[in-house]
């Protein structure tokens, strides 16, 4: 049936069919109970309509077993919804390890994305079909939100920290990207599109119009420019902890606590170095707040992550 307008969103990710199946289950339960209530009301309202003003119906105080019944059945059904929904939710927010990583920075009122190979795009996101893609996202100002209806995923994009979102597109095509967290005057203009390409097309797109430098290379040059090497580099003064192999490790902090070295930890250490001091080091690092842009931070993090790769390669040799 073609009405000239959609009544159901396109299914274009591995998650879409799973979310829709659960949605249909809820629609079925909901329609059943709504119909039951409406039917009962109509039947009672007609059957027991007042026929004379003197009617004094016999009182019914209630029924214990009925109360148990109509508490237990909804409870059971909602627990099915809970578990089913929680499983999908868990998968929506746990990206596979081999996902292609893309950085996204939101600001009033545009989206900026950068691929590991260095390509940047604005209000567009080119991704390959059939491969998991993980977005690492932050905002330069207020809270935004990446909403991809055709993929049934959504995640707020916060200033001052990274959130992630992943999806695996199943169909080539163009799909809308909406900002769905109200962010000011041009909120409804903060829209873009996801362009899903066949893998070969995607490779072609990546190699066309390349900026030359990958994110890691751009991060490495920032690492030099800000003089990070002096303290953190291999040939440095070792006043700061070495960053080789840092990413994903557990770091011992002063005071005996530990932290996992993820994107948010590295970000905080660059912008607010005194927040968490690594055990055995002095709090002498200056802040780089205001000196390095959100894109620059993501490039630095990409570089620091790559240092792990270098160490592993060395170990493999």
């Amino acid at each position: 049936m073609n009405l000239g307008f959609p009544l159901f969103p396109e299914q274009a990710s591995t998650m879409a069919a799973r979310v829709d199946a659960l949605f249909y289950f809820l629609v079925a339960v909901t329609v059943f109970f709504a119909a039951l209530i409406f039917f009962m009301i109509v039947v009672f309202a007609v059957k027991y309509r007042r026929r004379s003003e003197d009617e004094r119906p016999r009182p019914i105080e209630g029924n214990f077993w009925l109360e148990i019944l109509w508490s237990a059945i909804p409870l059971g059904l909602t627990m099915v919804m809970f578990v089913w929904g929680a499983i999908i939710y868990f998968d929506i927010y746990n990206p596979p390890d081999d996902a292609l990583e893309i950085s996204v920075v939101g600001r009033q009122w545009m989206w900026k994305a950068q691929h590991p190979t260095g390509q940047s795009e604005i209000n567009e996101l080119h991704v390959p079909v059939g491969q998991a893609v993980k977005l690492t996202m932050t905002s330069e100002d207020v809270i935004h939100d990446v909403f991809l209806p055709a993929f049934r995923v959504k995640q707020d994009v916060l200033p001052g920290r990274y959130t992630t979102l992943w999806f695996q597109a199943t169909k080539a095509g163009e799909y809308p990207l909406f900002c769905s967290q109200y962010c000011g005057t041009q909120h409804s203009g903060m829209v873009g599109r996801v362009v899903v390409l066949e893998p070969a097309e995607f490779e072609k797109w990546l190699s066309g119009g390349a900026t030359g430098l990958s994110m890691i290379d751009q991060g490495a040059s920032l690492f030099k420019r800000f003089g990070c090497e002096t303290c953190h580099g291999a040939g440095g003064t070792s006043q700061g902890p070495s960053l080789a192999g840092l990413f994903g490790k557990t770091v011992k902090l002063q005071g005996g606590t530990t932290v996992t070295a993820d994107e948010n930890y590295i970000r905080e250490s660059i912008l607010d170095p005194r927040a968490k001091i690594v055990a055995g080091y002095q709090p002498i690092m200056p802040t780089f707040k205001g000196l390095v842009s959100e894109e620059g931070l993501l490039q630095l993090i990409a570089y620091i992550k790559s240092l792990e790769g270098a160490e592993r390669k060395a170990a493999q040799k």
């Binding site: 909901t30 026929r51 009182p59 919804m81 929904g85 999908i88 209806p149 916060l158 909120h187």
Partner: protein, 546 residues
């Protein structure tokens, strides 16, 4: 009783005259009128904003108002409707009028505090109206940081001060109700003889007292960050923007129950009266109200499933949200069962009550979609959410409010409204409401985000349906305004108990005397003794029920 008799007898409306006698009154019944006039004004202001929103959304382009104006419209619509209409509507109008009368008291426990509550409400309202007149505010009624605290260039502080001040009115009203219900019940009016309206207001009052201070403090923090750049919510200043959401929803989720619990109380009264039956499972319905009030404080995180809070927190909030749905479901089943073998009449208040059950059922069931984590991720911040909460707040609370206003109108005014017009209005509102909001469920699932000034053209047809429904709804709301005012002068005289209802408020004349009862009633049986003829139940003038 004829007209002249009504006018000769002294009652709370004619005991004295003049503007001073109203503005300085401590009579809970007159204060109810002060609230009625104020919230009606705010309702139509909020409705005016809604009208402009719906007109703008007729077309995908932003052609009626600028983006900035549109953002102010939906913000002012939400702020006005929630803080200045929905929250005070049933408690401050019907609750004020009925809580003392239903329990056989002369007035609330603190009559002067009650009047003070109204002045505080008006003061808060004045700040908010000033903010609107000065150019408005564009943060959304949710005031999410750091947009509200740093980035917005509109009158955030003034608006927030208005809501802060108004909050105290809620707290004092809640306090007054709690003390009144505990201490001022007539002899024999035990807890389990209380009408369910009272139980609902008791539960609501608990939320007023415990929840409102949290929103007050939260909004003060927003103002402090905005004025003094204290780093509380903005990460650039060292704050945490998600902290705001936790604090905000800790109040604002229970606030949903502030809006709907009193309506549930009204509906229990109406269903019992117009089916001439005791409410099925009285104590279950009473405890369901308390259950909702308590669990309602533990579900705020379901507004934050996509905010970046931990996946495990999301799961706990999801589980608790399903649990809070159960007492609501129980209530719906009990109301439906109350109709069984009843003697059902279709007077306008009953039409509103049945409309409430239908719309609240849809609103409640669609809430399950939002509590389901995997589905909420997709529909969060879309029109699905808009449709859901309008089904609860407009389909539920406003239907309950209008049903209650019609039901107790003869008691409040001594006159009856024109029944035919009232039934027609109820029908128009029901149809207009569904046409307005049902298409928004579909809009949401196909992905239209909320708060969009312009939107992709494929969403237009459903938006046109919604706007068409809104114009029907507008007619439905203007009708009662017209005929209720008309009835003040031309309505037929109601008499003490035009519905053949049970409850102490019906045993005193309409309108009641200032002191409510000529003698303190003595209660010997539970609420809803509809199996007895009115003659078997006593009248005021001698101790009731003896």
């Amino acid at each position: 009783m004829n007209v002249s008799e009504v006018e000769r007898r002294e009652h709370y409306l004619n005991v004295n005259y003049g503007i001073r006698s109203w503005l300085l009154t401590t009579d809970h019944k007159r204060i109810a009128w002060l609230y009625l006039l104020s919230v009606t004004l705010f309702f139509f202001i909020g409705g005016f904003f809604a009208t402009l929103i719906r007109l703008e959304l007729l077309t995908p382009q932003g052609d009626l108002v600028q983006a900035e104006t549109y953002n102010k419209l939906f913000t002012m619509h939400g702020v006005t409707m929630i803080f200045f209409f929905l929250i005070p509507s049933i408690p401050a109008v019907l609750g004020n009028f009925l809580v003392p009368m239903m329990i056989g008291a002369r007035d609330l426990a603190f009559p002067r505090l009650n009047l003070a509550s109204w002045y505080i409400f008006i003061l808060g309202g004045a700040f908010t109206v000033m903010a609107a007149a000065a150019g408005g505010v564009d943060t959304g009624w949710t005031f999410y940081t750091p947009y509200s605290s740093i980035y917005s260039n509109t009158h955030v502080v003034l608006t927030v001060v208005g809501i802060f001040v108004t909050g105290f009115s809620s707290i004092l009203t809640g306090l007054n109700f709690i003390v009144t219900i505990h201490k001022m019940r007539a002899p024999g009016m035990t807890w389990f003889r209380l009408p369910l309206f009272i139980w609902a207001h008791y539960a609501t009052s608990i939320i007023f007292v415990l929840g409102t201070p949290v929103i007050a403090i939260t909004l003060v923090l927003v103002a402090l960050e905005r004025i003094f750049r204290l780093g509380i919510f903005d990460p650039a200043l060292g704050g945490d923007p998600v902290l705001f959401q936790h604090l905000f929803w800790f109040y604002s989720h229970p606030a949903v129950y502030i809006m709907v619990l009193p309506a549930m109380g009204v509906v229990s009264e109406l269903i019992a009266c117009f089916s001439r039956k005791r409410v099925f499972g009285y104590s279950v319905v009473a405890f369901a109200s308390l259950g909702i009030a308590v669990i309602g404080f533990l579900v705020w995180g379901h507004h934050m499933f996509v905010s970046g809070q931990s996946v495990h927190a999301g799961m706990i909030f999801s589980l608790l949200s399903f649990l809070v749905a159960i007492p609501s479901a129980i209530k719906v089943f009990n109301w439906t069962a109350t109709l069984y073998k009843g003697s059902i009449s279709y007077d306008a208040p009953m039409l509103y009550a049945l409309g409430f059950i239908g719309l609240f059922t849809i609103g409640g069931l669609t809430g399950l979609f939002l509590a389901t984590l995997g589905i909420d991720v997709h529909v969060h911040d879309t029109y699905f959410v808009i449709a859901h909460f309008h089904y609860i707040m407009v389909g539920g609370s406003v239907m309950g409010y209008l049903g209650g206003i019609h039901f107790w109108w003869p008691k409040m005014t001594g006159r009856r409204y024109p029944e035919g017009w009232a039934r027609l209005a109820a029908l128009i509102i029901f149809i207009g409401f569904n046409l307005t909001f049902f298409p928004q469920f579909v809009l949401g699932y196909i992905g239209m985000p909320r708060r969009y000034h312009v939107y992709p053209p494929e969403f237009q047809v459903l938006n046109v349906m919604s706007t068409a429904g809104a114009s029907i709804l507008a007619v439905g709301y203007l009708l009662p305004l017209t005929y209720l005012i008309w009835s003040l002068r031309y309505g037929t005289v109601a008499g003490r108990n035009p519905w053949g209802a049970r409850g102490l408020e019906w045993e005193t004349p309409s309108p009641p005397p200032t002191e409510n009862f000529e003698r303190t009633p003595i209660v010997t049986e539970g609420a809803y003794a509809y199996e007895k003829a009115p003659e078997e139940i006593s009248t005021v003038g001698r101790p009731a029920h003896v």
